[in-house]
Symmetry: C3
Subunit: 458 residues, 3 copies
């Protein structure tokens, strides 16, 4: 107990000071670099001769709002399944995503839209920033319950930079297609988080095991997250694809893929469940794998059948991962993956990248017609064959795995800095470490009050 006050004070101040510093620094960088783009600047927009219907805003804002709901409602509530970590799950999601979207506006802006000394922002940068926040939240899922909020902010600080660089290498240098981010978002976010979780391995986590499960109501809250992610995933994959047929086809393919992954998940969950019972963990997570697995290929001519097949495969693989691979991951590989992001984002992300390799390799001018330009511009311009595109896609997957692994390792070392506030092994998955927590039942159940009594008391 001796000496703890000052240490306690320094720990107490980590979160507020880090928030203030990061927000201050971000604001200064915004002041210097960030400007409205040609569609959001009053004077520039009105200089042009165009109708309001030409604004990209009207083609992309509804999708943006769906993505926004997925990031904040979807990811936030999906992680509420832990019985005593609901405040942290939804609260830290809120904090992390709010920081990540600002920081990624800067990082992605420097890499993608830096022009005449300024970053220009509009609806596309909003969607891209939310995508990056999504990747950070995937990594958060791997270490949920085992890190403090200051640690998480530092993770986001690093991860957003590496996300931006990896995305730049894939999309701009390698000419890889990845509209819904099977590689750039899901694979990257998952393996970054998993390697980071490996570095933070806690041999004594058993002390908090009793808090690691769900309770009845927390599982229902988590289903809010699941369903919002599920319904809006078609918007996620299509948010940044080519307008017209591209966006339309992407939404359609994702819709089918998710439906099939749901049936695959129910089938496998019942098949491997004790007495044939379904497991909420599978339904909450694996049913979403259909959205991840077509992240690369849904803008391509995947066909409706291809979407169903891909989704079904992802749902089954993901369910089997939860059942059989997660325990191995912890026992053999010392990776404690709280939300099973390896099953929902890792394996389906890699599968999605490989599916993209396949579908890109099968691309023909006949199948895409003049649409080839918008899906595979380098093939359309004759710079590449379909096979070459496929090889580049495959190479993109390896680059992503490399960036994610190295980044996760660096992140783990960063988060292990001894002065950082981290919960004890016996205090993991516990809101009280970070929050003022009210009791479960402040007021005792009362017998029904009669109106007459109330009147009499008057």
């Amino acid at each position: 107990m001796a000496g703890s006050p000052s240490r306690s004070a320094s720990r107490r101040l980590q979160l507020p000071l880090l928030c203030l510093f990061l927000q201050g620094a971000t604001a200064v960088l915004f002041a210097v670099f960030v400007r409205y783009n040609h569609e959001t600047d009053a004077s520039v927009w009105h200089r042009g001769n165009h109708s309001n219907a030409d604004s990209e805003f009207y083609f992309r804002y509804p999708s943006f709002q769906d993505v926004h709901a997925m990031v904040f409602v979807g990811f936030g509530f999906l992680m509420v399944f832990l019985q005593r970590y609901g405040f942290s799950s939804v609260g830290f999601t809120f904090l992390l995503a709010s920081f990540a979207l600002q920081w990624s506006t800067l990082v992605q802006g420097f890499l993608h839209s830096f022009d005449s000394g300024h970053i220009h922002v509009g609806i596309e940068s909003m969607i891209n920033a939310d995508f990056c926040a999504g990747a950070v939240l995937i990594s958060f899922g791997a270490i949920l319950g085992k890190t403090g909020p200051a640690q998480l902010l530092l993770m986001a600080l690093l991860e957003v930079v590496l996300f931006g660089i990896n995305e730049f290498v894939l999309l701009n240098l390698l000419g890889v297609r990845d509209a819904g981010g099977s590689m750039t978002i899901h694979t990257f976010g998952a393996y970054f988080g998993l390697v980071l979780s490996r570095v933070l391995y806690r041999p004594q986590l058993e002390k908090s095991r009793h808090r690691q499960g769900s309770i009845y109501h927390s599982d229902l809250f988590a289903m809010i997250g699941t369903i919002f992610l599920w319904i809006f995933w078609p918007s996620f994959n299509s948010a940044l694809t080519a307008l017209g047929a591209g966006q339309h086809r992407t939404a359609l393919n994702t819709y089918y893929s998710l439906a099939a992954s749901t049936l695959g998940t129910f089938a496998l969950s019942a098949l491997v469940g004790e007495d044939g019972r379904l497991d909420m963990v599978h339904i909450q997570n694996a049913a979403l794998a259909g959205g991840v697995v077509v992240g690369t290929s849904s803008e391509m001519m995947l066909t409706p059948f291809g979407s169903l097949a891909a989704g079904f495969l992802a749902g089954t693989v993901s369910t089997l991962g939860y059942k059989f691979f997660t325990p191995i991951l912890e026992l053999k590989f010392k990776v404690q993956d709280t939300c099973g992001v390896h099953n929902l984002h890792g394996m389906p992300g890699v599968l999605g990248a490989l599916l993209g390799v396949l579908v890109a390799g099968l691309a023909t001018r006949e199948a895409y017609g003049d649409g080839l330009e918008s899906v595979f511009p380098l093939i359309a311009e004759g710079q590449r064959s379909a096979t070459s595109q496929a090889v580049h896609q495959l190479f993109g997957l390896f680059v992503t795995l490399l960036f994610a692994s190295v980044g996760g390792a660096l992140g783990g070392l960063l988060l292990k800095l001894p002065f950082l506030d981290s919960p004890e092994d016996s205090q993991c998955y516990e809101d009280q470490v970070h929050w003022e927590v009210p009791g479960e039942h402040e007021v005792k159940a009362q017998r029904p009050l009669r109106m007459e009594e109330a009147d009499t008391q008057a």
Copy 2:
């Protein structure tokens, strides 16, 4: 106990095998028949000379997403009111709708958009498939808690086919107008489910009565479903109406109707409640009747006043139905209607059909101008008088009731097949039959942990 293992195994395998079979068969049929339509196929779309803003996707996708939220979030959570059946309510909604939307893509495709040997899909087929899934979920509401998931999938298998045929008869053969589905979705879904529930009548259901009510938190979860259904209903009714004034007017009428049904519901609920207290069952359900009752007429020139009057009527009738008619339905007609779909979808659906008869019969060229073509094409083309249209609308209601009743009876016989896994009378409304269920409170309430103690423990 003797002999049960093998039987138990066969029951255990029903759900997974049925899921795998249905998904496999659907995927094969998709491979053979389903193709992108002219707006989702890369080569066909880019062949045309049109701007991206011409794509129907941008006019209908936001409405689709609202409908999608209603089907999965709305229906799913609305049924979570049961205290021990939340996993099943939201989970089986998820399963059923995921299957129904695939299967109805095929059935509706064969009937409505089969061309040169193929079904062509895009945003309209997505909305239609979700509508059909909505009808299946309405029927699910009537038998909620009394059937297993394999039984429900078989119900959906049959119902989707009959839904498609009934819709084809009404819209294509009879020239009936029913944009928001007062007949095709609500009346059909409700009476299909009610007749089915009649066939499955359980005289011993008393054994599970203690689980049939709600608890405080389950009622709040159910309100999530209510509110999402309520806010998005304008999009539901307008999702497939004519673009421009048609869609705009439909959304507006539905908005007013819902507001009035909400006031009607509060008024009647307090009027008939003990000591003037409001009943959550009424608010959760009857307030939505305003959306159902204008399903047919909201695209017509119903007028804002007409919308208010219709909504108010529906809210009051529905509330009175919950209070007085549901008990009679069970005692006299042996229909155990778990969610009261007769009050929310049955009566308001029939009222909505009759309102459509009235408003169609009052249609004049003066009132609709050139808009007559998009609302009543057969009248505009001179093939029918307004009175004739009204008669056809009325006939459509009878056809729907016939299809629903015969279909529900067939469905009931199908679900009674003795080898199908069905919960015992004493195990109805109970998640544990189908799910691994965690406890309510795994960790005891702790007294607040002091940061100093945590530090000391370090």
Copy 3:
């Protein structure tokens, strides 16, 4: 107890009779005055020579749906934090907003779109009506738990009228700009409610203090409200701004402001919290202040940096308000502000108005180009200088405070009418006064049921 039956009956009938009267009167007024506008009337719309893409519906309906979700889901669930008042919070939100949107359609229609004896309605009137409902719900937040539903309806009856007049004075007479309603919605709603709460001051409220806090699950429900408000706020502020760059820029500015207010809130909450712990009340509320504070200025050339700075300031001020000023407000000023609307809507609303004064005063033709016409038409037309616009903006704030204060006082006197049903001091924040309330746990936790046993019972 003697004599209470008749009195009880008269109290019991207040809500139903008031609902019936208000709905009836509204319907009659709709019948006489409300008509479809040129975009929703079938004959008028088709008379014109325009494409469907010209309909304002497609530019504003997605934003409307987001606003609609904020009003009903956002406000409804945000107030569910009270442990025993969830039914009332979400239910009365539903009732009040359903009435307010009808009534404000009339009031705003008379003031803004009355033409040839009729009010013409369409998507803009829907958005405006929802905005007014939002203001009513803000006032509701100040008196949450201390009034009955009949009182609340009377409050809405008065407040909607004053809201409409105040808005008319600001926008039409003073030429004030306030797209997202920092003044017309937030400042007005907050101070109306706060003054009303002052008039209804209950010195004996201590008797209900034990019910005034949250419990673990009610805080999670409240976060549903918070997050939906947060994600859709960009649509709220931009719903009625000029199409094109105006709407685009407004959404972008609001997005940044909210992100910064979230970081500011986390920083300050941890800074002032015991042992550095975060407080859910701050996160649920103050993080939203970023949306309020740019309600006036987000359509202007606020710059991305300006948005961050404003949001951060609002988040910090709001958090400090919850921590330090709310107790003073009750002790010194006798204002019992249940939800702390002074911190979320009052102070940030006033700050937002002042920010609008500043940004309007800095407006130049150079910065806005031809966009000046759509943001500051009076400056563009040479009728005013930027400084004059700023002075008018400031004057608009005072007018709003005046209308809100006088209106709130009148409202308080109205609600104090002795025959109105109001909960006892000891029955505040208690659902049982108004609702049939089920218990918390009807069925005891059971040990897992084995499938074999179920089979044997058959």
